[in-house]
Symmetry: C2
Subunit: 333 residues, 2 copies
């Protein structure tokens, strides 16, 4: 039998464990051109929240009863396609289940000799590429510029700050606990950071940490944090909107101060992006990220929950900002 | 004596005529490298509102008692610089006064044979260049795309829609009266337009006029109009923020629905700009605009008030959206 987690109810606001259901179903059987994969690690990421509401945006909404979608690193058990053999380690969008069948061409090969296989869901996977292309292509940071990142201790944010440092920028992080702030400054080498939960006046804090204004803002969070950063952007600032995690659990549309006049005054740009728009350059991005990783220029932390049954809890933790670094779930050895 | 208009009081909200003062002062005398110019036409433009509040943004704020700044077309009366001779027609930032002294290098030569000299303050001046570079460089419209412009019957907006048509886009205008809507469709050839003052549901109207979404949005207005357009942008939409006239007279900061998530989903870009960032290409822009004008591909209307003393009223009319086309003030023949 296969164990899997399906959508039991559409969450209202922050998801609850009862919105998910652990089910058993017969093992899937690979057909022609398909591969049977055993899940080793699965990824929980902020963008998944939107799918639970059933609204199709850039990823299709999920139906009730459907397996929760998401990135997985797994081991090939059976393949009817010459590209794959039993034992290969692969990455793909296989969802929250112990076993999955996938089209052979939808999988990416992972080299276990190159590092921990879980990194295919992080530094050498979607979050790494998101940080890399989002920062470098959307924001084009220049040496000496000040780069601010929200959600800075999360999977994408922690890489954005470090890539900014590699590019000789000042990296300033905004995060939700003092432990995260210490992690950013002491372990990742950020030039500054603050805990927004204990900072009454974000704008004053930003002014202090970014005396020449914010040249680049990489936004994972939105809401009041972003309002404050927008008031403090420098001329010709570039803002990449990667995510808006503060809004994902809003029941109705939130309102906030208008700041479009500020874009005119600063001749500034705000751009939303999806990592998939850089798909034809993933290989180059992964090569650079893996080089930096080998050179010890990128530090990272994984926050690993154990067991498929704990995936909903891990997902909720991540939405609540309780993880430091990349939230993963280990499903099998 | 010279007659001029100064800032008598800082406006709160919409400016009143009593915020301005008509004064007489001695005629200014040109020094070395300076030119004495007689004002023929002066320009009133939305951006001037910010200066009255005394806040320096991209233009310095005005002090109380200072002459109101602004673009002027005038005639050279005296020059101590070999570049200019009496009788030359020039354009410069000379302000609301009958006579002004300016550095010789700050003036631009206008050829009266090339068309009405007032066009140096409109199609062949700052508003024309704003429409031209803002639309073409910030938004890069492609043939077949849908271009929406707010403040569509104003100086910049009416050109944006026509340039969009020249580039084989669909041009949709948003304006504030039925007369303006008729002007856009019947005189300027817009593909569609609506009067927001008589449209209860902007979003529904946009959906009807732009069934494939908004590829390009050129925003002069902001506020609830822009909120509605942002909900209806197409994938890879480009938004140029030129002005936010709905906000200029706000006493406190206005709030509105947050829409940054929409930028991610649509992989869309919002960019504020100032025409001055294209200063090194003005000549090419003016050449193209003047070619289109001669070919009859750009129609325009001027809304001309008569007499320096009526400049404040003309400025207020323009902020209230009562003008169709470019608001000017004729000061002398």
């Amino acid at each position: 039998m296969n164990r899997l987690i399906t959508l039991a109810a559409r969450p209202e606001g922050m998801p609850k464990e009862s919105d998910f259901r652990l089910e058993e179903r017969p093992m899937p059987l690979p057909g022609g051109g398909e591969v049977l994969v055993q899940t080793l690690y699965l990824s929980v990421d902020p963008y998944m929240r939107g799918r639970l509401s059933g609204v199709t945006t850039y990823v299709p909404g999920l139906d009730l009863g459907e397996v929760i979608g998401g990135g997985v690193v797994g081991r090939v058990l059976e393949s009817s396609d010459p590209r794959w053999s039993a034992g290969d380690i692969v990455e793909g969008m296989l969802g929250w289940q112990e076993y999955a069948v996938a089209p052979a061409r939808s999988l990416r090969k992972i080299d276990p000799a190159a590092g921990p296989i879980s990194s295919a869901l992080y530094v050498l996977g979607m979050p790494g590429l998101t940080a890399y292309f989002g920062l470098l292509e959307i924001c084009r940071p220049q040496p000496g510029e000040t780069v601010v990142v929200s959600g800075a201790a999360g999977a994408v944010g922690s890489l954005v700050g470090q890539i900014a440092r590699i590019k000789r920028c000042r990296a300033i992080g905004i995060a939700g606990s003092n432990e995260k702030v210490r992690f950013l400054i002491e372990e990742l080498g950020f030039d500054g950071a603050f805990n927004y939960r204990e900072t009454p006046d974000y704008a004053a804090k930003l002014k202090q940490l970014c005396p020449n204004g914010v040249d680049v803002y990489f936004d994972n969070v939105g809401g009041a944090i972003t309002d404050a950063v927008m008031r403090h952007i420098a001329s010709h600032a570039r803002v990449a909107v990667c995510g808006q995690i503060s809004q994902y659990n809003s029941v109705g549309p939130e309102t906030g101060p208008r700041w479009l006049s500020q874009l005119v005054v600063r001749q500034a740009k705000v751009e939303g992006f999806l990592v998939t728009q850089f798909a034809d350059r993933y290989e180059a991005g992964l090569h650079q990220l893996s080089t930096w990783l080998k050179e010890g220029r990128l530090q990272y932390r994984e926050d690993v929950a154990d067991g498929l049954e704990n995936a909903p809890q891990a997902f909720i933790r991540m939405l609540e900002g309780k993880n430091i670094g990349k939230q993963l779930v280990k499903v099998a050895d």
